[in-house]
Amino acid sequence: MTIDITAKIGSIKLRTPVIAASGVWPYSPEFWSGERLEGLGALCTKAISLAPRRGNRGIRLWETPSGVLNSIGLQNVGAKKFVEDYSALVKNCPVPVIANIVMESEADTQETLRVLEDVEGLAAAELNISCPNVDGDGMSWGLSCDSTAKATAAARKAWRAPLWVKMTPQAADPAAVARAAEAEGADAIVCANTWLGMAIDMCSGRPAFGRAVAGLSGPAVFPLALRVVWQVAGAVGIPVVGCGGVTTASDCAGMMLAGASAVEVGSAFFGDIGAGRAICGGLPEFIGRYGKERLTEIVGLARIER
């Protein structure tokens, strides 16, 4: 019996449920074709803002037990240069590409989306209302239902293709925030971005990061992200994408049992450049274990009393 591991996020079909999360995949041709993409169903771009951003100064990474704090600060070349420099990469990419969009002001975000409108191969926009590493925009949009609704509505007006909203786990009530995004036309919810953490540099006795706080990712946050997926998948009708600490086939299958239609994988690539392939290799066993033949049949299965 062959087991089908293709996934579906609304109208988007993926050859596997493993999506490279925003901020870990380089824009180098070697990574956008061939063997490097084995096991991956889609790629998220690094965050894209209207104007270029240099990102944060000073220390940007800090390792923690089973995790890593980052404070990159949305370094990117800006929407126009993205189109110039990377349109060809996106167009030729054998898997769908998702544009991760910084939620700035409503007007700027709409402008970014319009700039990207004609890039061939962009399957969806992922609205990043959840970056903890910048002031003013980013995460502050995703903390409340009201601002999430506003952000989603603004993006929706400027973007016809599928719109995903990437939540922050710092939202007080993740289910309510997800419903707010759904109500304003989001096509999928990504749960979630990084967890607000902090480190102190014990040499200087001062916060390691210039902004003091930073975003935690990696295996450490998996049980927390799984809980958010569980809460959100029970609250919305649109697909949910699990994200946070997914490292193994078991993690991926676990997220899907909890209700996710696919997963995004970030930090796992820090330990295994072939994490996508490794995860997919292990999926059939889990699907078979529950008597199913298709990955899509295990979505939400843990929610059903058996």
């Binding site: 995949w25 490097r36 990102g55 100064r57 940007r60 037990p65 990696g218 930090s267 330990g271």
Partner: protein, 260 residues
């Protein structure tokens, strides 16, 4: 992960047997891996990330320069700094470790003559260049002195004409390379240096007049090692650059060493 590694990629993941892990000085070790493919591919400028645990604590690879590549083996020269390197120092030959490589761009090299200057374990970052250049590069290495005899011997066994300087003057050519490094450098010559921040600062002062001939090989915390995470970025005159794929060598007058 490739057990043997046959992929032609710049960066790949390997599980490599440790064939040697010996102490060369207080907190300084030399570790050798059986790695036919990496040994063939490694150029001066390349490094590897070594994972100090099987699990995710610690989870990131530790970056080290490839200090030697010879007969199907690669070596690193490392210092115990924190938890990761502490764990590495305890690894027994025969064990296998996860290794990511190659990171770092091969050094762009246009100089007629090269001076390679290293402080302590920084020597690992210039030894392969010395090998590639043989007589047209000279290697200067500074170290504390007493207790570092095995380190000096290891360097000299690979590069018999290396010049060793010891802070306590207990052996080597004297107690500071700064008494002998030629200044000005002169046309067609470059000095590449690698070492602790104080060492690089001393070089900057020493060659204040000719920063265009001075190159730093630098360290930055890394997560991916393949140019994706933007964690290892340094500010340069040509915009932000990633140490892991654009570096690790930068011209002294173009890079901001004190970005942190």
């Amino acid at each position: 992960m490739a057990e043997c590694g046959c992929a032609p990629h710049a960066v790949d993941d390997y599980i490599l047997p440790v064939t040697e892990n010996i102490k060369l000085a207080d907190r300084i070790f030399w570790m050798t891996f059986a790695a036919p493919e990496l040994a063939r591919r490694a150029k001066a400028g390349n490094g590897v990330m070594v994972y100090a645990s099987q699990g995710s604590d610690p989870m990131l690879g530790r970056p080290f320069a490839v200090a030697d590549a010879e007969s199907g083996k690669i070596s690193i020269c490392y210092m115990i700094i924190g938890r990761g390197t502490e764990l590495l120092s305890k690894v027994q030959p025969g064990a296998s470790l996860r290794v990511r490589g190659l990171i770092g761009a091969a050094y762009p090299d246009s100089a007629k003559e090269l001076l390679l200057a290293a402080g302590g374990v920084g020597v690992g970052a210039v030894m392969l260049k010395k090998k590639e250049r043989a007589k047209s590069a000279s290697l200067y290495v500074g170290m504390p002195g007493r207790g570092c005899e095995a380190l000096a011997d290891k360097i000299l066994s690979i590069h018999p004409d290396a010049k060793i300087y010891t802070d306590d003057g207990s052996f080597g050519e004297g107690n500071s390379m700064f008494n002998v490094l030629p200044r000005p450098l002169g046309e067609g010559r470059q000095l590449w240096c690698c070492g602790p921040p104080g060492f690089l600062d001393a070089m900057r002062l020493y060659y204040e007049r000719t920063p265009r001939q001075l190159y730093y090989i630098i360290d930055k915390r890394m997560a991916c090692g393949f140019g994706g995470c933007m964690g290892c970025v340094v500010e340069t005159a040509n915009g932000p650059k990633r140490v892991c794929v654009d570096g690790a060598m930068f011209r002294a007058d173009e890079v901001d060493l004190h970005d942190d």
